[in-house]
C-alpha cells in the first residue's frame, strides 16, 4: 500500500517545495519595488511588509498553473493534437463561408461605426493602433518575409513625418499631395540604407540599421536650420476635406477613416505582394541566400525592394502622424518606437497579416486600457509579452505556412487530395 502511494506523495511534496521556492524568489525580486516606499517629505522609509506576504500568497498557486501550462505545452508539441481545436476553429473561420461571411460583415460594420459609437478619446487610440498596424505590416515585409532584421525602421517613419511637416511649413503643401511624396521619399531612404547593408545579415544588419535610425534622429535633432531641432515643427495642417471647416472631433473621425482606408489598402497590397514573384523571392532569401542565388534570384534587387517597400508604408504612416498631432519633433522617433513595431511583428506572428493586426491591437491598446493599473501598467504589459513569447513562440497567430501557397488552382487540388487522403 505505502509503496503505491509514496511516489505520489513524493511528487506532491516536490511540487509544493518548488512552488514555495518560486514564491520566495518572487518575494525577493519584488522586494525593492513593493516593500520599500520612500516618503520624501518626512525623509523616512515605510516598510510595507504586508505586500510581500500578498506577493508570496499570489505567486504560490500561480506557479502551479504555470508548471501545468508548461507541461501541457510540451505534450502538445509532441502529440500535435492538443492545439488542434485552435487550428480547427481557425480553419473553420477561414474556409466556411457561412461563418466567415457574416463575421466579416459584422466586423466591417463595427469598424465603420466605431468613431460614432465611442468617444473621441477612444477614436484617437484606435487611430494610433491602426497606424501601428500599418507600420507593423510594413516592417513585416522586411523582417517577416525577407528575413532582414531592421532595428531602425522608425527612421523611415520620421522621414515621412518630416517630409509632410517641412513641405507644409515651407510650401504650404496639403496632406493629400504630401502623402505619396512622403512615402516616395521614405522609399528612397530605404534604398539608400539598403545599398550599404546588402552584404550584411542577422546581427550585423541589426546593428547597422540601429545606427541608421539613430543617425536620422540625431540629424533631425541637431540640424536646426533644416528641421528646427528639438523644438520641432508646429502648426501642421490637418487633412483637407473638400474645403469644409471641420471641428476637432470631426477631424478625428475623418482621420480615422483615412487611416482605415490606408490600412485596407496596405492589407490588400501586402497580401498581393506576398503571393507575387517578388514575395516568393523574399521568402526564399529569408530561408537560404546561396540557394536563392542558385535559383537565379537577383539578391541585390530583391533586398532593395524589400527595404524600399517596407519603408514606403512607414512614410505613409509618418505623414498621417504629422497630420494627426499637427506637431512633430525628434522625440517621437526614438529607438523605442522601432522596438515596439518590431515587437508587434514578432508577437503577432512573423509573416502573418492577421498576426500583425492582432499584435498591434494588443501592444497599442493594452497599455491604454491598462491605465486602471496606473503605475503597474508597464509591469503588466511586460509580463504579458513574456507570457506570449513563452507559450506562443511563433507569435499569437501561427500556422502562417499554408498562406504561402502560390498557384491557386493547384493548391485547391492539393487540398482536395489531402482531404481524400485523410478520409
Amino acid at each position: 500500500m505505502t509503496a503505491q502511494i509514496s511516489p505520489f506523495i513524493r511528487r506532491a511534496v516536490s511540487e509544493v517545495v518548488q512552488s514555495l521556492l518560486v514564491s520566495c524568489w518572487f518575494m525577493f525580486l519584488t522586494f525593492p519595488i513593493m516593500v520599500i516606499k520612500v516618503n520624501p517629505l518626512e525623509r523616512t522609509i515605510d516598510w510595507q511588509w504586508m505586500r510581500l506576504v500578498w506577493i508570496g500568497v499570489a505567486v504560490f498557486p500561480l506557479s502551479f498553473v504555470w508548471r501545468y501550462l508548461m507541461r501541457r505545452k510540451e505534450h502538445g508539441g509532441a502529440q500535435d493534437g492538443e492545439e488542434s481545436w485552435q487550428k480547427r476553429v481557425g480553419d473553420r473561420l477561414r474556409t466556411d463561408r457561412k461563418i466567415s461571411g457574416p463575421l466579416l460583415a459584422l466586423l466591417a460594420v463595427f469598424v465603420v461605426a466605431f468613431p460614432f459609437m465611442f468617444s473621441s478619446y477612444q477614436t484617437q487610440i484606435m487611430i494610433s493602433a491602426l497606424m501601428y498596424v500599418m507600420l507593423g505590416l510594413g516592417l513585416n515585409i522586411v523582417v517577416g518575409l525577407a528575413g532582414l532584421l531592421d532595428l531602425g525602421y522608425v527612421a523611415f517613419y520620421a522621414v515621412g513625418a518630416y517630409s509632410y511637416a517641412l513641405l507644409n511649413h515651407h510650401f504650404g503643401l496639403g496632406f493629400w499631395p504630401a502623402l505619396p511624396l512622403g512615402a516616395g521619399l521614405a522609399a528612397v531612404f530605404g534604398i539608400l540604407l539598403g545599398f550599404p547593408v546588402l552584404r550584411l545579415r542577422g546581427d550585423y544588419l541589426a546593428i547597422v540599421t540601429l545606427g541608421f535610425g539613430e543617425i536620422i534622429r540625431l540629424v533631425l535633432e541637431n540640424w536646426n536650420a533644416f528641421s528646427f531641432g528639438p523644438s520641432g515643427i508646429a502648426g501642421i495642417s490637418r487633412p483637407w476635406f473638400f474645403g469644409a471647416d471641420l471641428s476637432l472631433g470631426q477631424h478625428t473621425v475623418f482621420l480615422y477613416f483615412i487611416v482605415l482606408i490606408l490600412v485596407g489598402f496596405t492589407i490588400l497590397v501586402v497580401n498581393r505582394l506576398r503571393n507575387s514573384r517578388i514575395g516568393r523571392a523574399w521568402i526564399a532569401l529569408r530561408e537560404d541566400e546561396v540557394a536563392c542565388q542558385a535559383m537565379g534570384i537577383d539578391k541585390t534587387r530583391t533586398k532593395l525592394t524589400a527595404f524600399a517597400l517596407g519603408a514606403t508604408w512607414a512614410g505613409f504612416v509618418g505623414c498621417v502622424f504629422a497630420a494627426k498631432t499637427t506637431f512633430i519633433n525628434p522625440a517621437s522617433f526614438t529607438f523605442m518606437e522601432s522596438a515596439i513595431i518590431l515587437s508587434i511583428v514578432v508577437l503577432g506572428g512573423m509573416g502573418s497579416i492577421i498576426g500583425v493586426i492582432v499584435g498591434a491591437m494588443v501592444l497599442i491598446l493594452l497599455p491604454e486600457y491598462l491605465r486602471a493599473f496606473s503605475e503597474y501598467r508597464m509591469l503588466v504589459f511586460g509580463a504579458s509579452m513574456v507570457l506570449i513569447m513563452v507559450f506562443r513562440p511563433q507569435g499569437i497567430i501561427t500556422g502562417v505556412k499554408q498562406h504561402y501557397r502560390f498557384g491557386q488552382k493547384e493548391s485547391a487540388q492539393e487540398q482536395g487530395e489531402r482531404d481524400a487522403a485523410s478520409a
Binding site: R280, E287, A291, Q293, I297, K299, F406, G407
Partner: protein
C-alpha cells in the same frame, strides 16, 4: 559549350584557384575530382558567379560570363546545385521545385516538369506536401537536383551530390544523373570526392590538387590510370 581559361579565384587573401582551365563539351558529363580543399567547389562557384573570379575567362556558348551577376548567368542556362543541398527548409517539396522555376512563366511547362521529376524520383512525389526540412538526407539531395532541373538548364553544375549519403542512395543518385544527361541532353559538370562513382558515369574527367588541374583525360583512361588509382580510388 563552356570554356574556362586560366582562372584565378580568391577568398579574401587565399588563392583558391591558380590558373585553372578546362572545357565542357556539349551533351557530356564531365567530372572534377580531388581531395578536400582542392578548390573543386570554388571552380563551380566561379562559374555560377556566386564567388566571381579575379582573373581569367569563362565563356558559355561563346559569351563571356565571368563578369556577370549570378542571376544573369542562371538566366543563360547555367544552374548550380550547391554543396550541402541547401533546400528551403520551410517550403514544401512542391514549393521548393516551384522556386527552381522562378524565372519561368509557363505554368503548363512547370507542371509537366514537376511530373517528370516525380517520375525520376517517386520518393519526392510521395513527400510532395512535406516541408523540405523534414526530408532525409537522400531525399533532400534528390530535391536539390530536381530543383536545379526545374529551370531546364543547358548546363547543370552538381556539387558533391554523394556527400553524406548511404552507398545505395549514391548509386540511385548517380544513375539518375546519367539518366538526366541521356534523356534531356543536359551537359553536366560533376564535382565529386567519390572518384570511382563519378568516373564511372562521366565521359571526361579532370583531377584537381590545391587549386591546380594536375590530370585530364577521358573518364575510362583516368579510371585505369595508376596515379588516380593510388591517390583517389584506393586500389
Amino acid at each position: 559549350m563552356l570554356k574556362v581559361k586560366s582562372l584565378h579565384t580568391y577568398y579574401g587573401g587565399i588563392h583558391a584557384l591558380k590558373s585553372v582551365s578546362f572545357n565542357l563539351p556539349e551533351g557530356e558529363i564531365v567530372t572534377l575530382i580531388g581531395a578536400n580543399g582542392a578548390g573543386k567547389s570554388t571552380a563551380l562557384m566561379s562559374i555560377s558567379g556566386i564567388v566571381p573570379p579575379r582573373y581569367g575567362e569563362i565563356t558559355f556558348l561563346g559569351r563571356p560570363i565571368h563578369q556577370m551577376s549570378p542571376d544573369r548567368i542562371f538566366a543563360l542556362g547555367v544552374v548550380q546545385v550547391p554543396e550541402g543541398r541547401r533546400i528551403f527548409p520551410l517550403l514544401t517539396v512542391t514549393e521548393n521545385l516551384e522556386m527552381g522555376a522562378y524565372l519561368r512563366n509557363d505554368r503548363k511547362g512547370i507542371a509537366q516538369d514537376i511530373d517528370y521529376i516525380f517520375s525520376l524520383f517517386p520518393r519526392l512525389a510521395e513527400r510532395r506536401h512535406q516541408t523540405g526540412g523534414t526530408l532525409s538526407g537522400g531525399e533532400q539531395q534528390m530535391l536539390a537536383i530536381s530543383r536545379g532541373l526545374m529551370s531546364r538548364p543547358k548546363l547543370l553544375l552538381l556539387d558533391e551530390p554523394s556527400l553524406g549519403l548511404a552507398p545505395v542512395l549514391v548509386q540511385l543518385i548517380f544513375a539518375t544523373i546519367e539518366k538526366i544527361n541521356r534523356e534531356n541532353k543536359t551537359t553536366i559538370f560533376l564535382v565529386e570526392q567519390n572518384a570511382n562513382m563519378a568516373l564511372r558515369i562521366a565521359h571526361r574527367g579532370y583531377v584537381m590538387e590545391s587549386g591546380v588541374i594536375t590530370l585530364q583525360d577521358t573518364a575510362a583512361n583516368l579510371l585505369n590510370s595508376e596515379k588516380v588509382k593510388q591517390a583517389y580510388l584506393g586500389i
